[in-house]
């Protein structure tokens, strides 16, 4: 027989008390796990949704002058009539350290052209990349080929053009292959053509006005990527679309802080439950502790018995708490994120942290009751002696 056997027998004997300690720890651990699991899953959900928002890094020519507002986002200064970026240089972006995080890169050439005696902004884009960069686009018609254009809804209305119409730009005849459904952005006022077509029409072969990069993904180090692209393209100005990143970070941070706060309160309440229950248990066992002391148990032996009991229950609470928390996250997640395929992932780090937290919480809350037990005067405990 060992001290551990005594601890185990006592747990078995005082099932209600052990159950109460277990319940206190379980509620704290499982709720903390569920909250942290929800944060993680919602984080991934938000990331996924933000990825659908498209580009989040802009590469602009190193220039000054005009400020351009684009897509409702502040893009910083750009002058599309001035300097441009050499298209051939863009290959360097594929060589940056975090190149694997680049989901899409959309070079764009911009320039003013005259259509039906009206000045219009022509944008040459890579339609393949645009699918990723602007997933909200709804194109009525076919994706433009060479000498085809896609008209923004407002541009089509103002120019009185519809799908299938033809018009001339700088003596080149262009065909309206499709019209963009209203986006509520500046895209509605633009005429889009293939990049090479627009470069030819604007006489900007091999040059682009800006590049949009989609790099928003889990653990994407946006700031680091901005720095890497800046180094790869020293003549450009690279910037993250701060509004999106900051808003994402702030939203997540608020929720994370709130969850940590709730978890902390629950852990404190759980610890208090353990403390009070263990103190009650120690008081109930005064005579028994007196017997142990009379039999030659040192104070440290008594402390070890109490802490062993707390440790065994806490370890059990750690394992069960993680499993219950994990299950609760699975059940609760659809209510927070909708049915969009975001699942709960087994996180060994969270499992280990839950186990460690339960054990630390249980032991820390039992230190005082254990010391109290060790200080019991054996002669008081054994009043009959």
């Amino acid at each position: 027989m060992t001290l551990k056997d005594i601890a185990l027998r006592n747990i078995r004997r005082r099932k209600a008390k052990a159950g109460f300690v277990l319940a206190g720890l379980l509620i704290a651990v499982s709720t903390a796990v569920a909250l942290l699991g929800l944060i993680e899953a919602m984080n991934r959900d938000i990331q996924q949704k933000l990825e659908e928002y498209g580009a989040n890094i802009l590469i602009l020519p190193r220039t000054e002058n005009l400020s351009l507002t684009y897509g409702g986002l502040s893009l910083g200064p750009v002058s599309f009539e001035m300097q441009e970026i050499r298209q051939a240089d863009l290959v360097r972006v594929k060589a940056i350290k975090n190149a694997a995080n680049v989901a899409a890169m959309g070079p764009t050439v911009l320039g003013a052209v005259e259509i039906k005696k009206r000045k219009v902004l022509l944008a040459g884009v890579d339609f393949q990349a645009t699918k990723i960069l602007k997933p909200w686009w709804k194109i009525g018609g076919t994706v433009p080929n060479a000498f085809d254009v896609l008209l923004g809804s407002e541009a089509a209305r103002i120019l009185s053009l519809k799908t299938g119409d033809h018009f001339k730009v700088n003596s080149s005849e262009l065909h309206v292959s499709s019209i963009l459904a209203p986006t509520g952005s500046q895209d509605d006022h633009l005429v889009f053509a293939r990049l090479d077509t627009a470069q030819s029409l604007l006489r900007k072969e091999g040059r682009v006005s800006m590049v949009e990069v989609a790099a928003l993904c889990n653990a994407c180090p946006i700031e680091a990527m901005v720095s890497q692209i800046s180094n790869a393209l020293p003549d450009t100005k690279v910037m993250a679309i701060q509004q999106v990143v900051q808003s994402r970070m702030e939203t997540l941070d608020h929720f994370r802080k709130f969850s940590y706060g709730v978890a902390l309160v629950l852990i404190l309440v759980g610890s208090l439950v353990v403390l009070v229950t263990m103190m009650g248990s120690v008081r109930e066992r005064t005579a028994e502790i007196g017997i142990f002391r009379a039999m030659g148990f040192r104070r440290s032996h008594v402390i070890r018995i109490v802490l062993l009991e707390a440790g065994i229950i806490s370890a059990l609470a750690g394992v069960l708490g993680y499993l219950i928390g994990f299950g609760s996250t699975k059940v609760a997640l659809p209510f927070f994120t909708g049915s969009n395929g975001i699942g709960v992932i087994f996180d060994p780090l969270l499992a280990a942290a839950a186990f460690a937290a339960a054990v630390v919480m249980g032991l820390a809350s039992s230190v005082y009751p254990a010391l109290l037990a060790a200080r019991i005067d054996p002669s008081d405990a054994l009043r009959t002696l």
Binding site: M1, T2, L3, D5, I6, R9, N10, R12, R13, A287, E288, G290, I291, F292, R293, A294, M295, G296, F297, R298, R299, S300, H301, D377, P378, S379, L382, T384, L385
Partner: protein, 247 residues
């Protein structure tokens, strides 16, 4: 030099007007192998004296030595070690741990001893066998009779073969037949060389001892040898001792 030596032991509870002098300055010596009965009225201080002798209750003043060791000069841990190595306790209401089997209860004093589990188990089985309970080793205290519980308590007290056994009212909760069995067992242990100090109200039990310490109001009022015939109820009449040695 005596094996157990108490010099002017004083134990006072409380202070000022509320002070209670449980042991008011007792001095005595006990040799190795003696069987001593401590008698006195309720509240006379005999249980306090036993707890002081058990290293469980620090006296207010005085000296208490066992085998030359000044017990209350030892630290808490050393005093726990002293209790484990020198003393066996038999409590009035047995004080068995209810959730441990009789065998496990007997093993309790060995839990903190650095010996392998098999040896400890064997020692506990031997002790249980000694008190005739080897067949009830795996029963809980609640599953055996009061007399058997007392014998388990004795087995626990002797499992580590301590030189001194302190017993507090070992017959307090037992019928006369079981009392005789328990007292015969104590006498047998004493005959093997174990020093036994027993607090009792019962003249019959005291009759098993060879020396009587009578206490009154915290003072030792009588210290006499007795014949240790024990169990001879005819020696007694209405609980009053008639034997000349006791008069």
């Amino acid at each position: 030099m005596s094996y157990i030596q108490a010099e002017n032991l004083i134990k006072q509870y409380g202070n000022g007007d509320a002070a209670v002098m449980a042991v008011g300055g007792m001095s005595f010596r006990i040799q190795m192998g003696e069987f001593v009965a401590v008698m006195g009225e309720s509240g006379s201080g005999k249980s306090t004296l036993l707890s002081v002798m058990g290293g469980l209750n620090t006296p207010t003043s005085g000296q208490y030595l066992v085998d030359g060791l000044e017990v209350y000069q030892l630290g808490q841990d050393q005093r726990a070690d002293f209790r484990r190595e020198f003393l066996g306790f038999v409590f009035q209401s047995f004080h068995l741990v209810p959730y441990l089997t009789t065998l496990e209860n007997v093993m309790l004093p060995l839990v903190t001893v650095k010996t392998n589990g098999r040896t400890k188990r064997s020692m506990a089985e031997d002790a249980l066998s000694r008190v005739g309970l080897d067949r009830k080793a795996h029963r809980l205290p609640s599953q055996v009779s009061g007399g058997e519980q007392e014998r388990v308590a004795i087995a626990r007290a002797i499992v580590n073969e301590p030189p001194i056994l302190l017993a507090d009212e070992p017959s307090g909760n037992l019928d006369s037949k079981t009392t005789r069995d328990v007292m015969d067992l104590l006498r047998s242990l004493n005959q093997e060389g174990m020093t036994i100090i027993m607090v009792t109200h019962s003249p019959e039990c005291a009759g098993y001892a060879r020396r009587l310490l009578r206490i009154s109001d915290g003072l030792l009022v009588e210290d006499v040898p007795i014949n240790g015939s024990g169990g001879n109820l005819e020696c007694w009449s209405n609980g009053v001792m008639e034997n000349s040695e006791w008069a």
